[in-house]
Structure formats: C-alpha cells, structure tokens
C-alpha cells in the first residue's frame, strides 16, 4: 500500500489556494467570528442559542416518531385498554364508594391520564441512554451547547406532546364511557398539570441516563419505580380506602398531587385554587397547594440533575 502513498517527508501538496475556497466561504468565516464572539459572551438558558439547539433536538425526536410511529400507536392503545379493562373490573361496585364519582370509570380516568404521562416521562431517559451507548450523545457533548438542559427540555417537550395526545384520547374515550368532560378552563389546567409532572419526571429519568452505567440498569430502575408509584398513589382507589400507612405514602407520592386535582376538575365545572382536592392524613390539601407541590417537585428534579449533566466537563 505504501507504494501508492507519497511519503510524508517529500510530499508536495498538489492542492493550491483554491482548496481553501472549497473548504470554506466568506459567509462561513464571518459566522464563525460571530459565533466565537457570542461564545465569549456565554449564552445562557434564555438565549437564542438555547432555543435553537432545543428546537433542533426536539425536531429529531419528532422525525423519529414520524418514521417509527409504533410507540405512539402503542402509547394510545395501552391506556385505553387500562381504562376499559380496569374500569370493567370494578364496574359493579356500589355507587358512593368512590367519593363523588358517579362510577368507577369516571374515577379511574384521572388516574390513567396521570399514570400514562408519568410512565412516558419515566422512559424518556432510555433513548438518551442508547444515544450514549452508541456514541451519538458524544456529538451533543462535544458541541458548544448553551446548556445541556436543552437535552432535557427537548425530551420533556416531546414527551409532553405525546402525553397530550394520549390524554386527549383518554378524555375522549372516558367521555364516551360516561365520565363526562371537564370545563375548558379545567382542560387547560389539566394540560398544565400534565406538563409540570412530565418535566420533573423527564428530568429525573435523564439524570439517571447520565448517571447509571448502562441501559440494563436504567430499565431496572424504571421497572422498580413504575408500578409501585402507581399502586401507592390515588390512581386506582380513593385515599379513604387505604390503610393508614398507605394513606401516608400516597400523600407523599407526587402522582397523587397530579391525580386528585384532575379528578376534581372532572367533577366540578367551577374550581378555584382553594378547592380541597386531597384528604391527606394531616389535613385537607387545596388545589393551589397541589400545584405548588408539583411545581416544587419539578424544580427540585431539575436542580438535582444539574451536576449529573455536568459530570463530564460542563
């Protein structure tokens, strides 16, 4: 092979100055100068750079979904199966046992909405972990991202959009099964609740994707978190059904703080931040307090994962 290669020492580059033109352009050089100047000004979380990288990363996720729609299809079918099968299981339970709800189907809807969004967000770390294992994440990590939170926000936006589609289908089918519909303002608040929960859980999942050794470990964590959090929340039965210790656990479970407000919105056309939504062992929790707990949960999650995102050099 070496016979066809000119040795380094007496190599004469046949390429001339025209090579420079094909490798660059005045526009590019100008951009580069401004990019370096901008980098020296340290763009932060609210910069145009952050928006640009976040949107590009979100777009990638949507292109993947468009070309591989099976996750979305399964993601819509699965909660509906829950709703129909689980709802039928407890269909004949006497009225009045599930608080104000007229039937179990109506009671269950809020639980399924929140659990579906939660499960989707919990899995958000998996694609990032696979990117890491295949080396694609290195592409992102060697790029001068304004902040690695763009990876988190992109995933959260994508999962939130998925959750909205899933929620809409659950709300629609529930209405068909006789659960009724929340008011328009109720639906808007529902969307806000789902988004806040998704943001926090996505952040935790991505933190794990950066911290754990590999996808096997991540799947294990998802496995032991998923169903226990469902069963220790108020998704399937009202808190008054539970033994005392489980009431305490359920009142510490962030999912309950998303489920109960949505359940309340289903039953009450008029709501205010003072509306009592959850009867915790230590007293009644208002809608406003529930929202505060959710926002606090997401904020803590985002702060907690910051050092994990920076563990390589920030």
């Amino acid at each position: 092979m070496s016979s066809t290669i000119t040795p380094a020492k007496n190599r004469q580059d046949s390429e001339t100055a025209s090579a420079v033109d094909s490798f660059s352009s005045p526009e590019l050089l100008q951009w580069k100068a401004t990019a370096i100047a901008a980098e020296q000004a340290l763009p932060g979380l609210f910069s145009g750079e952050f928006v640009q990288e976040t949107l590009a990363l979100t777009q990638r996720l949507f292109i993947q979904l468009q070309r591989r729609p099976s996750t979305l299809i399964a993601g819509i079918i699965q909660p509906l199966m829950w709703l129909i099968l689980f709802g039928a299981l407890f269909q004949n339970i006497p009225e009045g046992l599930f608080g104000e709800s007229q039937n179990y189907g109506q009671f269950l809807g809020a639980g399924i909405i929140v659990f579906t969004a939660f499960a989707g967000a919990l899995n958000a770390g998996l694609p990032v972990m696979f990117d890491r294992e295949f080396g694609f994440l290195n592409r992102l990590l060697v790029a001068p991202l304004a902040s690695r939170f763009s990876i988190v926000v992109a995933s959260a936006l994508f999962i939130a959009a998925m959750s909205f589609v899933q929620t809409a289908s659950i709300v629609g089918v529930s209405a068909f099964l006789g659960a009724g519909l929340p008011s328009v303002s109720g639906l808007a608040l529902m969307a806000l609740i789902v988004f806040t929960l998704v943001l926090g859980v996505t952040a935790l999942s991505l933190g794990l994707a950066f911290a754990l050794p590999g996808h096997i470990e991540l799947i294990a964590v998802i496995f032991v978190t998923n169903l226990p959090l469902l069963f220790s929340s108020t998704a399937l039965v009202p808190i008054s059904f539970m033994p005392r210790w489980l009431q305490v656990v359920a009142s510490l479970n962030p999912l309950s703080y998303a489920i109960e407000p949505i359940r309340y919105l289903y039953l009450h056309e008029r709501w205010s931040l003072d509306s009592p939504v959850l009867q915790a062992p230590w007293g009644s929790v208002s809608l406003g307090a529930s929202l505060a707990v959710l926002v606090g949960f997401s904020a803590i999650a985002l702060v907690l994962i910051q050092p994990l995102l920076r563990r390589r050099i920030a």
Partner: protein
C-alpha cells in the same frame, strides 16, 4: 502566537487502571500530527480529554491558547471531533443529521444551508443526502461523519483511528481528504495504530506507550535517530535453517553490518541492520557471491516507525498489540470509560 494544541502533563486514571500516565504534546497550527501507539496506550483517553468528553485528573489542555478546562464551550467551538466508531441516527437522513449538527453549533439557517451543500459536495454525499443513514455503506458513513465534524469549520480536527475498519479505497480517500484539509489550513490530530497511516500522513508524530510519550518528531527524524538501514535477504524462497545460519555467520563479521537476525516467520530470511551507506547492498551481494551463496531476493529499506517503536520499548507494535489484547478486559474498560466520561 499560541500553538493549535498544547497538552501538558496530562494524567487520567479509571479506578486502578492508569490510562494516561503523563502526556505532553505541542501541535503547531496547520500540521497533521499523529499519535501512534498500540491499542490501550492511552491515545483515545488523551483526545477524549482534549475534546471535553473526559475530565482529566491533572494537566493543562489548551486549544488556540484557550484552556479546555476553564472555557470548555469556547474550546468546543474551535475543535472538531470524529470518533472511531461512526455514530449516526439511522432514522435521520444525512442532510437531517447535518442540519441537527448545524443547530448544535448555532449556525443561522442561511449559513447552515450553504455550508451543508458545500460539505455534501466536497465529500461526494449529495446523491445519498436524502436517504436514511441506516442504508449507508461504511465508507459513506465515515464521509458523513467527516462532514458533520467539519461543518462548523473547526481550527483543529481530532480524529480517533480515522480509517479503522475501512476498506482500502475508503482509507486512501480519507487520507487524501485530510491532506486537502491541511492544505486549506486546518490543524489535524489523528490517532492510529497503523504505522503506514502515520507514515503517509503525519508531519510530526508522538509515539505513545503505556500512557507515556516515548518519542516525538517528524517520522524521518525519528527513523534517522534509530539509524542504519534494513536489508532483507532471501537465499532461497524457503531457506533451510542451517544454510541461513551459515550465511549469518559469514555476514556478521563484516564491518558495516550491525546485526543479523534469521526471521523464521518468513522462510528463514535474513534481516540485517547495516550502517547507512550507499554501497551496503552491493557489498552484501559481493560477499555472498564470494562465498558462493545464491540470492533469491534482496532489498534495502530505511528503518520504519516500527523500528523506532522497537528501539524505544524493546518490542514491536504487533507484539505490543498482542500483549495488550491478552491483558485487557475490553468490556470492563468500556464500562469504566462510560462511567468516567459521565
């Protein structure tokens, strides 16, 4: 003017495994610099530290005079990194991958569009640009990876084993491309465990062994330092060992012959190290004629980088590779690296 890359006293260990013991390098602007060493010598860890993927335990890392550890984002703007294994999203098309890459470097849409067209044409990917990367061949994947790494016009392009696993044609295409890149003013840092690759490409080379730099210089300087020429002699196509040994006994006392080795792996051919003088080949031929020893084939060569490595470490690269393979637990190392990076 500060050098393109400055690495000083770099150290990195993963648990009990010392990946980089002490590496110092200075790479001047506009040169192709080769990092040569067997697998496991610390090449990849060194460039991962430089490209902000791994945090070193100690040492100074600078690109264009900017500290990589203090201003990582600015350093990332200056650097382009091409990993050994091409990582593409197989669902995206080549063009979509480059668009993502452009956004990660915050290029405005107009600049990005023109630049993507330029890189697609330069690397001859246009015809495949709108196909999913999952359908690409190995050589095409590497070209797209090069286009992505060069999209933001880095001052320093860092390539980890750029031609490992490529077919010969793709390999020489990559070499040719890197030479053009240098001609256009880009500094190139490559790691390789292929001698020919470094010999063909690199203006300067650092030979790295067990986490330490053991020699630095231009390939020809390094070879000259080892000194002497190599003569390979075959008496027959397959020489009986006693004939080879008697020829060795006859040649060894000659004044200009430094060393004679019978290479049993190559049909008992004789490998001679001789003083660099123009008539060495002729003198050997004459001596053989006088002793009535036939010649099947004879050739003379300057020392190779392998000889440089051999002189510095007492073993040649292939032996080092084999030894490294025996003592290495690749799976555990990968795991360590994933933990370490993170």
């Amino acid at each position: 003017m500060s050098p393109a890359v400055k690495i000083q006293d770099l150290q990195k260990r993963y648990g009990s495994l010392v990946a980089v013991k002490n590496v110092s390098l200075t790479i001047e602007s506009g040169e192709i610099f080769g990092l040569l060493g067997p697998n496991g010598a610390g090449k990849t860890t060194t460039i991962r530290c430089l490209c902000t993927l791994t945090k070193p335990d100690a040492g100074v890392l600078e690109v264009n005079g900017t500290s990589v550890l203090e201003r990582p984002r600015l350093a990332r703007q200056y650097l382009g990194y091409i990993a050994q294994e091409v990582a593409l999203d197989k669902v995206l098309t080549g063009r979509e991958l480059l668009q993502l890459q452009a956004a990660l470097y915050h290029m405005p849409a107009k600049v990005a569009k023109a630049r993507i067209a330029q890189m697609l044409s330069l690397l001859e990917i246009e015809a495949y640009a709108d196909q999913k990367t999952g359908t690409y061949s190995g050589g095409l994947r590497k070209r797209l990876d090069l286009a992505a790494g060069l999209l933001h016009q880095p001052d320093v392009l860092v390539l980890d084993e750029p031609t490992a696993g490529l077919d010969i044609e793709s390999r020489s295409a990559v070499w040719q491309f890197l030479r053009q890149l240098r001609a256009a003013g880009t500094t190139v840092l490559i790691t390789s465990h292929y001698l020919e690759e470094i010999d063909a490409l690199a203006d300067r080379v650092a030979i790295i062994d067990r986490g330490e730099v053991i020699a630095t210089g231009t390939p020809s300087d390094l070879k000259n330092k080892v000194g002497g020429d190599r003569i390979t002699l075959r008496i027959h196509e397959f020489t009986p060992i006693d004939e080879a040994e008697s020829a060795r006994a006859m040649l060894e006392p000659l004044g200009f012959v430094q060393e004679v080795i019978v290479n049993t792996a190559q049909g008992n051919s004789l490998n001679l190290v001789v003083d660099s003088q123009s008539d060495a080949l002729l003198s050997v031929q004459q001596a053989l004629k006088q002793a009535n020893i036939p010649i099947f084939g004879i050739s003379q060569a300057r020392p190779s980088l392998d000889d440089v490595y051999l002189a510095a470490t007492g073993r040649n690269l292939i032996d080092a590779e084999l030894a490294a393979l025996d003592s290495r637990d690749l799976k555990a190392e990968r795991k360590q690296q994933m933990k370490g990076i993170s």
